[in-house]
Symmetry: none
DNA sequence: TGCGACATCCCCCAATTGCGGGAATTGGCA
DNA sequence: TGCCAATTCCCGCAATTGGGGGATGTCGCA
């Protein structure tokens, strides 16, 4: 699990929030520093261009909040988050990245991120996100929150797949797996980075091999349900 | 998965967002209307003081977004959300309430809410939340997002779905049952002795109620709810 | 007596799906 | 080296699907 910031705010109000920044792009880093100076109530205690540097220098500074980019050279952003949350349990971690890839979002959140913002957030949004994170909240960009909610509401199907499913090639299995997640062929194509036509092609073969004639039936077979026919 | 809000923004950046408000407290309602007038790009198409009134008057107005309070006289806010999302599938629903009770948050989200704001949000936050919701995002107040994330990360095995197929009429269940057996709509119609058109008609309603957009997804939801217990 | 929920059926339309071809590439394997 | 399975993509076509309207009839409730 993940310790969502044990130490609530208690100290709030007066003293400015100590913020640490981990961002490899110099331009962006400067931009963030500028925002922190502009928005009232923040004080940048440090800015680093790599996870390694931040891990070395941040601990003694004990920032209240850290803004972490995910695209870092060397150690990955997720590993950086994991390490930071272990070393600085009282520090809120807010991811700021251009990606809204579900994988990275979930990886970051389970690595200890308290918030997740997409680049494009306004200075005001970044500021209130930092404050909210420090106060125990989880500031998420709407697009990211949508992913989390969807994932949250989409859990029912007992994941006991991996059953027999004879003669299905690995690629065919991957596609079936997506359909079993409720995706439509077009989405599956995008997710697996292949042409929509190719997915349709694999589907033809899947149907023949499983002796079914619709997506729904194929998924039922895949989930091990006993579909009549 | 809910495939939150299928219809992305048709890209209508110019036209102001049509907003509907459901809030029983007159003071708060006026306050919201004032905010909508102050913030650029919004146009209030209606404000109602109860779920019943909103359900009666809103449909023909087809608001782009609706701000819904949870504390309503008569029909509960959650039921109101469920009904609205069924009747106005293209309308984004944003909850605005003082409660951050996990139960209500989850009930609202699985009832079809696209966003969830806590009272105390600033006019700017409300405005950007409405826009984000209309664009397919899920604006959540940080405190609410924290609940969702925690719930998401704290449930490896039994997810515990929201509700066991909310408000499906008996006939609708029979049809879903057939589809879950692998039948195609035509066969289901024959088995249940009704017109193919009627089955299609029920399907439309089932999709709306379950927030899905394909037979496969509906069956997955059905099976997931069955596996409950 | 009117209203709302349910159920039944119909029409239309655009998009998707299922299914039949064809074709090129890759990597084993005999 | 030739064959084959797996993958990738495209074209076309008929049927199905998802969604938008309507319209009718029953039933229970106010």
């Amino acid at each position: 699990m993940r310790p969502r910031l044990e130490s609530p705010p208690d100290t709030k109000s007066e003293r400015p929030l100590g913020v640490g920044v981990v961002e490899d792009n110099a331009i962006t880093r400067q931009l963030l520093l500028g925002i922190l100076q502009t928005q009232p109530g923040f004080e940048c205690v440090g800015a680093w261009s790599s996870a390694e540097e931040a891990l070395r220098a941040a601990p003694p500074l004990k920032p209240d909040v850290m803004l972490v980019d995910l695209e870092l050279p060397g150690m990955s952003g997720e590993d950086c988050l994991r390490a930071l949350s272990a070393i600085l349990p009282g520090t809120a971690l807010v991811v700021l990245t251009a990606h809204d890839d579900p994988k990275r979002v979930f990886a970051s959140l389970s690595a200890g991120a308290n918030g997740y913002l997409l680049k494009g957030a306004t200075p005001e949004e970044i500021a209130s996100a930092l404050t909210a994170a420090h106060e125990g909240g989880a500031p998420l960009s709407p697009a990211v929150a949508g992913l989390v909610i969807t994932a949250f509401l989409t859990k029912p199907p007992t994941p006991k797949r991996g059953l027999p499913l004879p003669s299905l090639s690995p690629r065919e299995r991957q596609i079936l797996e997506q359909l079993a997640q409720g995706k439509v062929p077009k989405e599956a194509a995008a997710i697996l980075s292949m042409s929509y036509e190719t997915v349709r092609d694999h589907l033809k073969r899947i149907y023949r091999k499983l002796h079914v004639r619709s997506r729904t039936e194929a998924v039922l077979r895949y989930l091990g349900a006993e579909a009549a026919s």
